[in-house]
Amino acid sequence: MVEDKKYTTVSIPTPLFKKIEERIKGTGFTSVSSYVTYVLREIIAEDEESEEAFSKEDEERVKERLRALGYLD
């Protein structure tokens, strides 16, 4: 069985790469890759959180069911 590689490569436009290089100068990020990984993780975590959140739509569905169960007018 072949083990999955821990890292893989994605391509980004060179001008964007250079902008990120500039941006991370003097920060704790040691490479463009580590910065991009950090940003993508943040975005994915935010999305996952909003998927898990009790939304207005969920609330309306719950209220409809609670009315049917006799817990709400």
Partner: protein, 186 residues
């Protein structure tokens, strides 16, 4: 002042917990507007005929009148609890069992979207319990109460500060009422 609350999703065993506390000697507040029925043969132990959430939503429920008493406020109602000092027993039960029980009660099969919405409500309520500084809480699993009433009621009694008559409270647990039990494939 402290308000004791039994909470959890509807059909998660909140009525059973109210009965446990009632037989265990706590002051339990309920009215008789909602009569016992096939879904809750021992009664619902609710105020406002079960519609306390409406009164909490519009801010007209006089929670201060229930100082040192136990009331039932199901999960969605926790969103509207005014600032106070609460000790909450939050019931947990397998979500498929809850859905099956709700479906029977409503007379309509609830679907995946309903399950997801109630799952999110459950998580929302647990997060709220964790985050509010005026709430002390314990979670209790319905199946564990049925499996070992003494152990679970002693744990609850410990949370409540030892005010329950455990021997009397145990009598409230009736395993024959554990219907809609999910079959576990072995």
């Amino acid at each position: 002042m402290v308000n004791y609350i039994v909470s959890g999703l509807e059909r998660s065993g909140t009525s059973m917990m109210m009965q446990i506390l009632y037989l265990g000697g706590m002051k339990v507040a309920f009215d008789h507007k909602r009569k016992p029925d096939e879904h809750n043969p021992k009664g619902y132990f609710e105020l406002e005929g079960g519609k306390i959430i409406n009164r909490l939503m519009d801010g007209s429920f006089p929670i201060e009148k229930y100082d040192d008493m136990v009331i039932k406020v199901t999960a969605y109602g926790l969103k509207f609890l005014p600032k106070g000092n609460y000790k909450i027993i939050y019931m947990l039960r397998d979500l498929d069992e809850i859905m099956a029980s709700m479906s029977k009660m409503i007379g309509e099969k609830l679907g995946e979207e309903d399950k997801k919405a109630f799952d999110k409500l459950n998580k929302y309520a647990l997060k709220l319990l964790e985050e509010r500084g005026d709430i002390d809480y314990i979670t209790v699993r319905y199946d564990k109460v049925i499996e070992n009433p003494r152990r679970e009621i002693e744990r609850i009694n410990n949370f409540l500060g030892g005010i329950l008559d455990v021997e009397a409270a145990i009598k409230a647990v009736d395993p024959s009422l554990y219907r809609n039990r999910k079959e576990v494939k072995r």
